[in-house]
C-alpha cells in the first residue's frame, strides 16, 4: 500500500458531468509521480479531488492508511498534504518572508528554523526576503510558491504544472529543486505539460485520457512505450 492513495475516484464540478471516472493514483514517500495526458483529460481534476477541493462521488483518498475522503482541504493540509496551484500560487502583495510565514500559519512552534531550511533550499529567497513577491521574476515566484508549500514540512506535495510559463532554463532549475525536495522523503505528485522533461525526473507516471487511467509505469517505460510516445509525447 502506497503512502498517499486515491482509489477509483469519480468526481466532477458541481452537478456537471464526471470529469474523472474510477481514476486511481498513488505515491510513496521519496517518489515523484507525474500525471500526464492531453488537454481536458482530468489531470488537474484528479489532483484537486485528492486535495478535497471537489467532492468525490465514489472512491476514496487515504494517507498512511487513514481514509481522509471526508476531510476539508484545510484539514488535509493539517495532515501534511501541501498543494501548489498552477496560477495565483503566491501572495503577490506580501514579502517573500511573509509568504513563508503564511505557509506555516498552522504551525505553533518556532518557524525560524523551517524558514532557514527553505532559504538553504532556495538561496535566492534569502537574498530577496524582504521584497514584495509581485516584483520577482516568474522563476523566483515559483520558488516562493514551492517554499510556501514546504513550510508545513509536508509529507505529500502536489504541484499543478509547476513549470507553466517559465523559460526552459528556469524549468531545469525548478526540476532540480523538485528533486531536492523529493530527497527529503516527500511524496510528490505533479501535473505537467512538458511530458518528456517531467518523465525524465519522475519515478513513475500516469497517463490519463478522458478521466481514466490509460497507461502507467516508470518514467523510462512510458518514455519508451511507442503508443504513449505517439499519442502524448509528439514523437
Amino acid at each position: 500500500m502506497a503512502f498517499f492513495e486515491g482509489n477509483k475516484m469519480t468526481a466532477g464540478y458541481g452537478d456537471g458531468p464526471d470529469i474523472i471516472t474510477s481514476c486511481s493514483i498513488n505515491v510513496s514517500r521519496g517518489e515523484i509521480v507525474a500525471i500526464l495526458g492531453p488537454n481536458g483529460a482530468g489531470k488537474s481534476t484528479a489532483m484537486k479531488a485528492m486535495l478535497g477541493l471537489l467532492k468525490l462521488k465514489s472512491g476514496s483518498v487515504s494517507i498512511d492508511g487513514n481514509d481522509i475522503s471526508s476531510l476539508s482541504p484545510q484539514d488535509r493540509v493539517k495532515k501534511g498534504i501541501s498543494f501548489v496551484p498552477q496560477t495565483r500560487n503566491v501572495f503577490a502583495e506580501l514579502t517573500v518572508r511573509e509568504n513563508l510565514e503564511i505557509g506555516a500559519f498552522l504551525r505553533e512552534d518556532d518557524i525560524n528554523k523551517v524558514i532557514e531550511e527553505i532559504y538553504e533550499l532556495f538561496p535566492i529567497l534569502k537574498e530577496k526576503r524582504s521584497q514584495i513577491v509581485g516584483q520577482l521574476s516568474g522563476g523566483q515566484r515559483q520558488q516562493v510558491a514551492l517554499g510556501r508549500a514546504l513550510m508545513i514540512r509536508p509529507s505529500v506535495l502536489m504541484l499543478d504544472e509547476p513549470t507553466a510559463g517559465v523559460s526552459p532554463i528556469v524549468m531545469d532549475e525548478l526540476f532540480e529543486h523538485i528533486i531536492k525536495v523529493k530527497e527529503r522523503n516527500v511524496a510528490i505528485i505533479m501535473v505537467e505539460q512538458n511530458a518528456k522533461q517531467a518523465l525524465s525526473i519522475s519515478d513513475r507516471g500516469y497517463v490519463l485520457v478522458t478521466g481514466e487511467n490509460k497507461f502507467e509505469g516508470s518514467g523510462k517505460e512510458l518514455l519508451k512505450d511507442p503508443e504513449v510516445r505517439r499519442s502524448f509525447l509528439g514523437a
Partner: protein
C-alpha cells in the same frame, strides 16, 4: 511680521482644520478600504455605521453626565468610546451574520453585496431615527480651547490669532494613535499578516489553513473601532447630526479611491488629500493676501476659488479625475 501674520492666517483657517477633517475622513476611508479589501464590497452603510456608533457615545455621554462622571478637561465622550465600540461591533456582527454572510457564502458578485449594503444603510438610518431622532446634538464638554486667539495674540504680539480647539488636537492625536496601532497590527502580527494574505489571494489563504471566519470577525472588529472613533471625533468637532454622516460618504469614498482602494496607507493619506483640497479650494484668501501684497495691490474680492457650497463637488471631481487617469490610486505600494 506681515509674512508671519499671513502664515498664521493660513494655519488657523486652513491647515489645522484640514488636518482635523482629514483625520476624520482618513478613519472612514480606512474602514471602507478594509471592508473592500477583505470582504470585497463597497460598503454604502459606512456613513450611517459611523453615525450609529456615535449615537451610543452621545447617549452614554448624557448618561455619564447625569451620574456626575466627567473626564476633567477632556470630553466625557472619550470615556464612552470603549462602550460605543462594543455596541457598534455587536451591531456589525449581527448584520454580518444575518445579512452579509449569506451573500458571502453564496459568493455573490461584489455589486450585489454593495446593493445589500444600501439596504443595511436604510435600516441603520431607521434604527438611528427610532433611538435618538434626527435632531442636532452637542455632546462636547470639558475644556473647549487649548489655545485661544486672544491668548495667542497677547503671547506673540501678532495681529492674527491662532486658535487650537481641544477637539482638533484630540482628533489628530487619537487618529495617529489608532492608525499606528492598526498598521502595527496589520504588518507585524500573525493575524494581521493572515488578513493581508486573505485579502491578496483568498484561495491560497484557505489552502494555507487561514480560517476565513476569524478573518471576517477581526475585520468587523477593526472596522467597528475605526467607524466609532471616526464618527465620535467628527461629532465632537462639528456636533452630532445623525444624517450628516451619510453626506460624508462621498469624501470618504473619494479618499479611499484616491489612495487606491484596498490600500489602507493610501486611504489614510487620501483622507488628507481630500480634506486639504476641499479646504484650500474653498478658503477665501483675502486676508492672507492683504498681509503679503503692498497696499496698492490689495484685493477687493474675497479671492475664493470656489464657494464652500461646492465642497462636495471637489471630492467628486477628484474622484472622477483619479478614476480616469490613475484608477489604481495615486499612491504606489502594497495593498492591505
Amino acid at each position: 511680521m506681515d509674512l508671519i501674520n499671513a502664515i498664521i492666517v493660513l494655519l488657523n483657517y486652513t491647515v489645522i482644520p484640514a488636518l482635523t477633517y482629514g483625520s476624520q475622513l482618513a478613519l472612514g476611508a480606512i474602514f471602507v478600504t478594509l471592508i473592500y479589501g477583505i470582504l470585497r464590497f463597497a460598503n454604502f452603510a459606512t456613513g450611517d455605521m459611523m453615525s450609529f456608533g456615535t449615537m451610543f457615545a452621545v447617549l452614554l455621554t448624557y448618561y455619564f453626565q447625569s451620574l456626575g462622571i466627567s473626564f476633567g478637561i477632556l470630553p466625557t465622550a472619550l470615556l464612552t468610546i470603549p462602550f460605543a465600540i462594543f455596541m457598534m461591533i455587536l451591531y456589525m456582527l449581527t448584520i454580518d451574520k444575518f445579512v452579509f454572510s449569506y451573500y458571502r457564502v453564496k459568493k455573490s458578485p461584489p455589486v450585489q453585496l454593495a446593493m445589500v449594503s444600501v439596504g443595511v444603510m436604510f435600516v441603520t438610518q431607521a434604527i438611528i431615527r427610532i433611538i435618538i431622532g434626527p435632531s442636532d446634538r452637542r455632546f462636547l464638554d470639558g475644556e473647549k480651547f487649548i489655545l485661544k486667539a486672544t491668548e495667542f495674540k497677547e503671547m506673540t504680539g501678532l495681529n492674527e490669532g491662532l486658535t487650537l480647539k481641544s477637539t482638533q488636537a484630540i482628533t489628530i492625536v487619537v487618529t495617529i494613535i489608532v492608525v499606528s496601532i492598526m498598521f502595527w497590527f496589520l504588518n507585524k502580527t500573525k493575524t494581521g499578516t493572515s488578513m493581508r494574505a486573505y485579502s491578496d489571494n483568498e484561495d491560497l489563504a484557505l489552502l494555507s489553513g487561514i480560517d476565513p471566519k476569524k478573518v471576517v470577525l477581526i475585520t468587523w472588529v477593526i472596522a467597528g473601532i475605526l467607524a466609532t472613533i471616526g464618527g465620535i471625533l467628527y461629532g465632537l468637532d462639528k456636533s452630532y447630526r445623525p444624517f450628516v454622516y451619510f453626506n460624508n460618504m462621498l469624501p470618504i469614498f473619494a479618499a479611499a479611491i484616491v489612495g487606491g482602494i484596498g490600500n489602507p496607507y493610501g486611504a489614510f493619506l487620501g483622507g488628507y488629500v481630500i480634506a486639504f483640497a476641499e479646504i484650500f479650494l474653498t478658503y477665501a484668501y483675502k486676508r492672507f493676501f492683504i498681509y503679503l501684497l503692498p497696499e496698492s495691490l490689495e484685493p477687493n474680492s474675497l479671492i475664493q476659488l470656489l464657494s464652500t457650497d461646492y465642497k462636495f463637488a471637489i471630492s467628486f471631481s477628484i474622484l472622477v479625475i483619479v478614476l480616469l487617469f490613475r484608477p489604481s490610486g495615486i499612491f504606489e505600494g502594497k495593498k492591505i
